[in-house]
Amino acid sequence: MKCHIPGPNVKVLGRTIHALARFGDELYLESSPDAILLRTLNAAESAYAMIKFNKVFFSYFNYNFYSTDDKEGLKCKISMKSALNAFKSPTHMDKQVENLEIKLDPESCKLIFIVKCKHGIVKTHFVSILDCKAMQAVYSKDLVHSRITCSQKIFTEALGNFQSSDDQVTIEANSNSFIIRNYIDCNIDLTKVIRTQINIKPTEFDSYVIGTETIITFTLKEFKALLGFAEALSLPLQLQFEITGKPVVFIVHNGTTFEAHFVLATSKPDTNTQASSTQNSSAVKRKRKEVHIKSNSPIKKKLHLDVDLSKYLDEDSHLFNYIDIPIEKDLNNIDELVHNKTTGSQSILHDNMECDNIIPASPTSKIKIKAIFKRCFESTFDPRSIQGLVLAENSDSE
């Protein structure tokens, strides 16, 4: 694959890389006959971004430059840090850079960026390829019932009201009102946090269609990153969402040249926890700590995606389709199995985090934990519930 990107578009690419860097640590690049796709996934696998640059974005585009027989196009995974190195200071890039050439040779283990700057300076970045896999999230787009189109400004201004310590937001949307709130976790002391709510009139949006009224919660960090991206390119933003538990998709596109999809996992806010006692919440905290040790990964919600392929329907923990370069079905299956196993421990989180019935029952370990603490939650002590030996008998009633 070989392509040339003209100066002004290099800035767009730079912005894209910077936005993606706020999502994940690895960048997947894939070339197809008429486009280049950049993808990333965050560490908690709760956010995914895909940006597609069509042929017209490039001044020269040849996906089969090295004339291999491979019809699949090339795929590679590089580290985000090395990609960022090639796109330092995207704001000034359009003034300095005249042309950018990207080369990907199937035989080589490097992805090459050749930056041709003014005054004949040529910078060449050889970026190591970590893997030859492609990654793809499965989510539904354009089929959903709720869609909002607006300028990113509305959201940027709204988010300005939140505290810097807030990490998730809840959107409550119905046909007459649109409310954004900061998400209050069930184990946070209510006397310590500010609850903020912003009520935006639906008429402020360019278009506003809500199929079913819903409440969705997603992370703020990635949301801010994609708003920054839309702001830098001054393009409108389209939100597509369904119901709680289904991902929310943000689309930024510029007609024919490129299209960006940002997919964020959603969870339902557990409303009943706000009334829960302090005892309860401390128990939850303890429980969560245990889970944390087990999974040994930063806890976040797991991406719960709507999978349209029937074979994935009953395994909700399987989200991503890892495609090996020479597609061997057996190998792929093993890969899936391994993936399922590793995510198995993480799926314990589901019930804990989302308190949501949509998610199938977790492994038993969690129920065990529940049983240990169960008696604490009972309002009164019932001696009949204790069965077995009485170690110390009641003293005489006299």
Partner: protein, 292 residues
């Protein structure tokens, strides 16, 4: 207990935001005292013992609020004292500079909250949007009110107007790096001297021709270790050694548009800094002197 207030003018809103953000920089927590005619923001010393307040800010409600309703616990106790995290209040008020209207309410939403309802104009259309912040507060019981009374201070020996706070602040911030303590010296002739001493140097900055508001001389220097300075009548100057950090903290109040700032000194004991604005807001800071 009930409290409800509405603010609609841009000027007072900006002023209010500035005051609150200044206080949030001075202290993590503060006491918001609401009374029928004034609202107070009170900061006590951090190592909260039975120490007198360090910062005392009073604002007449009539210049800030269009509507102001307050009902205390009973007729004798008309005030409401609320403990609040000052950063929470200031962060919620950041957007107030562009707001159309602010409603403040005392609410009970699972815990006592000060609810701020801010009406924001939309940048994209004529519509306005409603932002609600529920800031958790602690209602201070009546028996503890006495801790937050205005401190009774001895009559100052001298009151002198301070030069521009910004200028003073840059001076103090430099001095602060060299020495933790600064000696503030004021004379009846309108001279203000800030002085630090280190093992290596003695640095002093003098401001001349300042207006002296009051002078209760002569000052008794009989027990003092100060070296007599020539050219100056010692009995007409008084000084106090204070914590440079605290002094510099007060000077960050320069973002509040103020009329004048008075520095009153009780010889060797106390420095009272008082900032007054056009809206009759009074921000007072009490810094006790360090005596060896």
């Amino acid at each position: 207990m009930k409290f409800r207030a509405v603010m609609i003018d841009a000027g007072p809103m900006r002023e209010f935001t500035n005051i609150v953000s200044t206080i949030s920089r001075l202290s993590k927590e503060c006491i918001l005292r609401l009374s029928p005619d004034k609202i107070y923001l009170i900061v006590s010393e951090d190592n909260s013992g039975p120490a007198p307040p360090m910062l005392w800010c009073e604002m007449p409600q009539s210049t800030f609020f269009l509507e102001y309703q307050i009902v205390g616990v009973d007729d004798e106790h008309k005030d409401i004292y609320l403990g609040i995290v000052s950063a929470n209040l200031s962060k919620s008020l950041v957007t107030l500079k562009t707001a159309k209207c602010l409603k403040m309410k005392l609410t009970k939403k699972q815990c006592p909250c000060l609810t701020l309802e801010i009406e924001m104009p939309s940048s994209t259309s004529q519509q306005s949007r409603q932002v609600t912040h529920d800031i958790p507060v602690v209602v201070i019981p009546r028996k503890m009110w006495s801790e937050f009374h205005e401190p009774r201070v001895p009559h100052p020996d001298i009151s002198i107007e301070l030069p521009a706070l910004k200028q003073l602040r840059t001076t103090i911030d430099r001095m602060k790096c060299m020495s933790p303590e600064v000696v503030i010296r004021a004379s009846a002739e309108g001279r203000l001297t800030l002085q630090i001493k280190t093992d290596l140097a003695k640095v002093s900055t003098r401001f001349k021709d300042l207006r002296v508001e009051a002078f209760e001389g002569p000052i008794d220097h009989s027990d003092s270790e100060t070296e007599t300075q020539t050219m100056e009548d010692v009995s007409r100057t008084c000084y106090c050694r204070v914590d440079a950090k605290k002094f510099s903290m007060f000077l960050s109040a320069d973002q509040i548009s103020h009329n004048r700032t008075i520095c009153s000194i009780v010889h060797k004991k106390l420095v009272i800094l008082c900032l007054q604005t056009e809206e009759n807001v009074k921000l007072q800071c009490f810094i006790t002197g360090i005596v060896y």
